[in-house]
Amino acid sequence: MKLLRDTWLLYQRQLLLMWRSPIWLFFALAQPVTYLFLFAPFLQKALLPMGASTIQDAYNIYVPGLLVVMCFYTGLFAGFGLVAELRMGILERARVTPISRSALLLGRAARDVTAMLIQCALITILSVPFGLTVPLPNLLVAYALLTIIGLMAAAISYDIALTIKNENALGSLLNSIGQPIALLAGVLLPLAIAPVWIQKLALANPFSWATNSVRALFWGSLTDPVVWQGTLIVSVLAVVTVLLSVRLYSRNIR
C-alpha cells in the first residue's frame, strides 16, 4: 500500500517534469519519424519475400519493428535520467526521508514507460496516412507488449547505470550493446530474409521474439502462437530484470 502511494507520488512528479519540458518528445520522435518517411517507402521491394505486395503491407511490416526499436532504445537510455538525478542530489534528498526505495525507482520507470507509449501512439497515428491498418484489439495487445519490452530495457539500463554511475561511459556502453540486440531482433528488416545462421542466433534474443509478436499482431493475427510465446518470454524476463534493478537500487540507495 505504501509502495503504491509512494510510487504514485513520484510518478506524478515525473509526469510534471515531462510536461514542463516537452522538448524530449521532439528528440525522441525525430529519428523514428525520419525512418518512417525516408526509409520505409523503399521497403516494399525488399519485403516482397515476406508477402508485402503493396506499400501498405510494407508499412504493416515495418512500423511494428520501428515501435519495438523505439521502446527498446527509450528504455535503454532511461538510465541517463537516473544518473542525472543521482548527480543532482535528488536521490540523496529522498534517501533521508522514509519513502519507499523501490518507489523511487518504480516512479521513474512508470514515467519512462509513459513516454514510450506516447511516442508509440504518435508514430502509429503518423503511419495511418501511409496505409497502416491494424485492428484495435491487436493494437492494444501490441501496446501492452511494447510496455513490457520498454520496461525490461529500462530495467537493464538502470542496472547498468547503477553499476557504473558515469554518464559518459554509459552512453557508449549502451550503444554498443543496443545495436547488436536491435539488429538481431530484426527491427529494420525482418529476420525471415536473413541468412540462416543469423536466424538461429536471433532465437536466443528475447527482443527478436518480441518483435515477431508485435509484427504478427500488426499483420492481423492475434492467435499466431508467436504472440503468446513472445509475450511469455518478455514478461518473465521483464519481471526478473525489474526485480533485479529494484534490489540493486535498494542496496545502492538504501
Binding site: L9, M88, I90, R95, P98
Partner: protein
Amino acid sequence: MIQANQLRKSYRTKRRRQTTTVDAVRGVDLSVTEGEIFGFLGPNGAGKTTTLRMLATLLDPDGGQAHIAGVDLRANPAGVRAVIGYVAQGGGTWDEVSAREELVLQGRMHGLSKAEAQQRTHAALQAFQLDEYGDRWCKTYSGGQRRRLDIALGVIHRPKVLFLDEPTAGLDPQSRAHMWEEVRRLRSEGMTVFLTTHYLDEADALCDRIAIIDYGRIVAEGTPEELKRDISGDVVMIGLDEPTTRAEEVLKDKRYVLKLESVGETGLRLYVDAGETAIPHVMRELNDNGITLSTIALHRPSLDDVFLTKTGRSLRES
C-alpha cells in the same frame, strides 16, 4: 541529542590496480546537547562531510556507535530518519519545479497527507521569506534563496535534529547573515542544529559549541571562547624606533606580561591576559623610561590560532 562514540569510516580507492585505503574518519567522539548549534570546523577533506553523512544515515560507519535523539543509528536507521532533517551541500531539487511543489512533495515523502503538506508548505514559505517566489521555478533562484529553500525542505517534517552541510558556502555576506538568522530561529524553536563549516567567523559567531576536526580526528572541542582562552591570552605587538633591549628590560618583570618575545630588531610581542588593560600600562611604562613607541597593536586569538596550535597548520592555508 547526538552521541557518537569512535565513529570510523574508510574508503578504498583503486588506482593502477593498487588498492589504497583512505581513513576519512578515524574515531570521532561527539556529544551535542539539545537546542544547541554545534559547529564542525575543519579544512576540506578533514572528514566533516563523511561524519555528517554517517550521522544522517547516508553512509554506513565501519565502526563505532551513535545515538540520535536516543535512537541507535546502526540498529535503527529508519528510526533516525524520522527525527532528523538533512541538507546537503548543494542541489537536491529539480530545475523546473517551484519551491511550493518541492515542499509539498517533501512533506508527502515524509508521509504527510496532501492537505497537511500544503499547510506546512504555506507556513514554511512564509517563515523562510520565500512566499514571494514560492511559485517560481527553482532554477531561477538566487544562491541565498536556494539555500533557504534547501533548509525549508530539510525541516518540513519538523525534525528534532537538523544536519547542515556547509550551509553558507559560496554565499554573499548578506545572504550568509540571513542564513545565520534562519539557523538561530530554528534553534529558538527548539531544534538542535549540527552544521559543518570551514569558515572561522561562522563557527565563531553562529555556533554555541564547536569541534575542530583534522585528518579524521577531533583535535579540540568546546565553546569558541573556551577554545580561544585555552591556547593563550591576547598578544600586544609593539614596534620601537630603537633596539628592543631597553624596552625588554623595563617590561619583562611586569605582572601583566606573561611572556615576551622579540620580533626582529625593533619589534616586541607581549603575551598578556587582557590586551585592553595591558596597553595603557605598556604605553605609560615605556614613556616614563623615555622609550619612544612607533607602533602598537592588539591581536586577539582567533579560532585559526586554535587550529594552528592544535595542528601546526593554519586553517586558511590548508
